[in-house]
Amino acid sequence: MITSKKLLGGVCAAALAFAASTASADTANPDVAKVDITKTRSIAYTLTYLNWALQYTADAKECPNGFNDGPREQFKILFPEDGTKRTYIDTVLSREITGFYPDQFKEPFTLKQAVGPVAPGLNLDGKVDADDFISPAGEKGVDNQFYRGLGCIESYRGPDAYNNFYDTQEILEGTYNRMLFEITELDSLQNDPDVVVTMYRGTHPVLRDASGNTIGFKGIPGGTEKLDLRWGKKYVQRYKGKIENGVLITEPATYTFPWQTFGTPTDETIYQMRMRLDLNADYAEGLMGGYLDFASFHSKNMRSDSTHHQSYGRLPSALLYQTLQQIADGPVDPATGKRNSVSSALVSKWAQVYIIGRDNKTPVAEAPAAARSAAGER
């Protein structure tokens, strides 16, 4: 069992069952020959699963006040059927405007935040602060304030949550979210003090097994990906990293990646993102932690989920945004003097692929100045 076990161990039975079902094997078949990195000095992987790293238990102890209301419930509270005559503008459109411009209006509700000492994630700032979590494996100083915001929203509570389902479907069946990473200057998958990790976007869907399944969202290793160097040029990003005891650790840097849900393409940005993935010749699996630009997250929700979808998952998007502003712990943006990001972590799974159509002169995208500024980078 790889990283998921180290990082998610200790969570409730439901979560454990999920972890077991999604990371049941180290490799597709230990006897079958793998990619020979001694010849290529590189290995690449394609994304097969991506969801926010949250702590959830079967009896929802982390949500002592229950789960949050969604747009429908909020609407009923704000506009009860009490005979009052109201206009469409003052009700429906007003709520829509609030959703799209959450900085302009104050929501008359309080978000029910997740509580408790345990949450999966990474120690992003190297400190152990009072509001930090302890990881399920016992690691202190875990920075994952985003979990406080999402933890009691039903549409994100795995393993079969509404958003998880559709996000995963987009990854497995679509190609818009086809994120790849390649490790180069690689000498060993076990220990290598100096490797280069390059993120790309590919063009081919995830391979499924002979039954049409994805083997716990892991897919089949050994597929081939062609790089999208036209529309995906902006996703080519390069990081320094190392491999220790089979775990890839990258240095923090801004990461912008495609995240389409419900057929609506959006980008997500995480500042100071670093990977901590268990590697083998077939799969990579683990956490990607960093400070999430919650404005990009909110924009994604409004554009792709819409009120219709948010209602199904009881996602109070504007309220969540305003709460994230309050609990934001990311770097201060010198331009605004505000914190625009919140510590977060993503659970990710990747299957080995071969990359073709590579161009050695492929330019690596540089994070936009605004993003660097927001991340406190120069």
């Binding site: 006897d31 079958v32 020959a33």
Partner: protein, 567 residues
């Protein structure tokens, strides 16, 4: 097949052959006299006339050639019984049961409807009737006997593989007219007759008709149309086209020179690919893939699409090596050149762009020759594990024409199947199994070469270990030992039975008759020539289809019987 060389008649037949040579024109007679002695095994061979059921592929190819590749036939034929290593021989004893005829009729009706359809330009569907029917009726709602006769005569000749007798054609035109009157549609009338043609026994069955051989008094040969059909179904896996039928009509196929011209034309045709693929698909027993499935939990990458691609990969490799590159047949078993598709990439663990691309396995790759293709490895293995025995048996039977006896009914497989067995590798399990002397006899002729393929699991994926234990891929084949699969490939390539087995199979496939013990001199002769020509497949095809074994038949003419009786 019994390519009959009737020994008591040998002298008389030799005399007949000499006389036939004498009857030629002067210059040619001299050439014949100076040529090397004609080997009796070659010159006197013949094969029995056959009545064979067309295969599904032959039916589809024929429809495509006559009406165009966009006409879908979707005809389903019952599986044939593999006989003497070939399904093609089972076609000689196959019939068409009622249930199958219903399916064929449905397919025929669909083909006929497509042939006469008017298309829909709004949908971008072209009119087939405008391109396939060379005339237009005066009124599309009424019969037009002249137009119907033109089209049905032309189409019937290609489907029946000979011109339709006038009375039969007239009958068909009348039937088309009656249907057109009832349905108020000229084209619907034609469709009803085409449907009838497509399920006619004369179309579905390939019947050999014979005639006296004027060049060999006392012997009989296939008539021109039957020779044309035998040639075409063999070389093109489809019915003869207009050019071949014209050669039959003109008598060109009845002369040696004419036969050579037509055969050379057919061997140069792109349609040869269908013939080559048809033969090797049969010889390699790739019909296994029609219902082959692997355990998805053991081999998750071995999808149905991957298995289909595996079959295609080997057929492409064979055609490319034998026809495009004109390579030595034996080198198929050592070549590292092949083709790759995305479905196969995860199994071979190589990057693959979309579509089929040429691919060369590296020189240090364990993949060497078609025996290391997924097609051979996966089709001769268990659903969830490899099988040295099945692979060794297939190698013997399919490629060396060496039958392996069936296992006794009470064989104890427990040592092989026990999931708690302490044995880690197939070699360990087989060794234990062979402690039973009843089993050892047969396994000794299959397992030593099958074990050399143990570096490939039941899906055909390479593995250096089995259950964590290093695999020993050494083996032996008929006295030649080797340390790995490359050694096996070399041993197979240089095995004397390899080319002679191909000759046997090609001869049987082409004539529809099994090669028997008495035919060994003929096979030896053809194998010798095959070797002299550098084991070039097209040379072998040419030699066989131009040989008397291909067009002479074993029936003896009544007058010869009289002559024998007089003696």
């Amino acid at each position: 097949m019994k390519f009959n060389v009737h020994r008591p008649l040998l002298g008389a037949l030799l005399m007949g052959a000499a006389l036939a040579g004498c009857s030629n024109e002067g210059g040619k007679t001299e050439q014949t006299a100076k040529a090397a002695p004609v080997p009796p095994a070659f010159e006197l061979a013949s094969s029995p006339p056959r009545h064979r059921l067309m295969s599904a592929e032959q039916y589809q190819n024929t429809i495509s050639h006559i009406f165009g590749s966009d006409i879908a036939a979707n005809a389903q034929f019952a599986p044939l019984q593999r006989t003497e290593g070939l399904l093609a021989l089972g076609a000689s004893t196959a019939g068409v049961p009622f249930g199958e005829m219903q399916k064929l009729q449905r397919a025929a009706a669909l083909v006929a409807a497509q042939v006469v359809d008017d298309g829909n330009l709004d949908l971008g569907v072209p009119s087939h009737r405008d391109s396939l029917i060379p005339c237009k009726p005066a009124d599309a709602a009424l019969p037009d006997p002249a137009c119907a006769k033109t089209f049905l005569g032309m189409t019937g000749r290609l489907l029946y593989r000979h011109p339709l007798p006038e009375a039969r054609l007239t009958q068909m035109v009348d039937e088309a007219g009656k249907s057109a009157t009832q349905l108020k549609d000229f084209y619907a009338g034609l469709a009803s007759v085409i449907e009838g043609m497509l399920i006619s026994p004369e179309v579905l069955m390939i019947h050999d008709r014979t005639e006296p051989d004027p060049e060999r008094p006392g012997r009989r040969r296939l008539d021109g149309y039957s020779y044309a059909a035998r040639l075409s179904f063999f070389l093109w896996n489809a019915a003869p086209d207009d050019r071949v039928l014209r050669a039959a009509e003109s008598g060109e196929l009845s002369t040696a020179k004419g036969r050579e011209r037509i055969v050379d034309m057919m061997l140069a045709s792109p349609r040869l690919e269908e013939g080559v693929r048809g033969f090797f698909d049969d010889m390699m027993a790739f019909d296994t893939f029609n219902n082959l499935a692997k355990d998805a939990s053991a081999y998750p990458a071995e999808t149905g699409a991957a298995l289909t691609a595996a079959r295609e990969q080997t057929l492409r490799t064979i055609y490319d090596h034998l026809i495009v590159k004109k390579g030595d047949y034996r080198d198929l078993f050592t070549t590292r050149s092949t083709f790759m598709s995305p479905e196969l990439g995860p199994i071979y663990r190589v990057p693959t762009p979309k579509g089929w691309v040429k691919y060369d396995f590296p020189a240090d790759s364990p993949r060497v020759g078609i025996l290391t293709h997924v097609s051979f490895l996966a089709s001769h293995a268990h659903p969830g594990r490899s099988s040295a025995t099945r692979r060794g048996k297939a190698l013997r039977e399919l490629l060396l024409c060496q039958p392996v006896p069936l296992p006794p009914p009470n064989v104890d497989f427990s040592a092989l199947n026990d999931p708690t067995s302490p044995f880690k590798t197939a070699r360990d399990r087989v060794s234990f199994h062979l402690q039973n002397p009843v089993c050892a006899g047969c396994h000794k002729i299959t397992d030593p070469m099958g074990l050399a393929l143990e570096n490939f699991d039941g899906a055909g994926q390479f593995r250096a270990t089995e259950m964590g234990t290093a695999i020993d891929p050494s083996g032996a084949l008929d006295g030649k030992s080797f340390k790995d699969v490359a050694g096996l490939a070399d041993s197979v390539r240089n095995h004397p039975a390899l080319p002679s087995c191909l000759v046997r199979r090609v001869l049987s496939y082409g004539t529809g008759s099994p090669v028997e013990r008495e035919d060994r001199p003929l096979v030896d002769y053809l194998t010798g020539h095959f070797a002299e020509k550098g084991y070039r497949y097209t040379d072998l095809l040419r030699e066989i289809v131009l040989s008397p074994a291909f067009y002479d038949v074993t029936e003896r003419a009544p007058e010869q019987k009289s002559a024998s009786a007089a003696n």
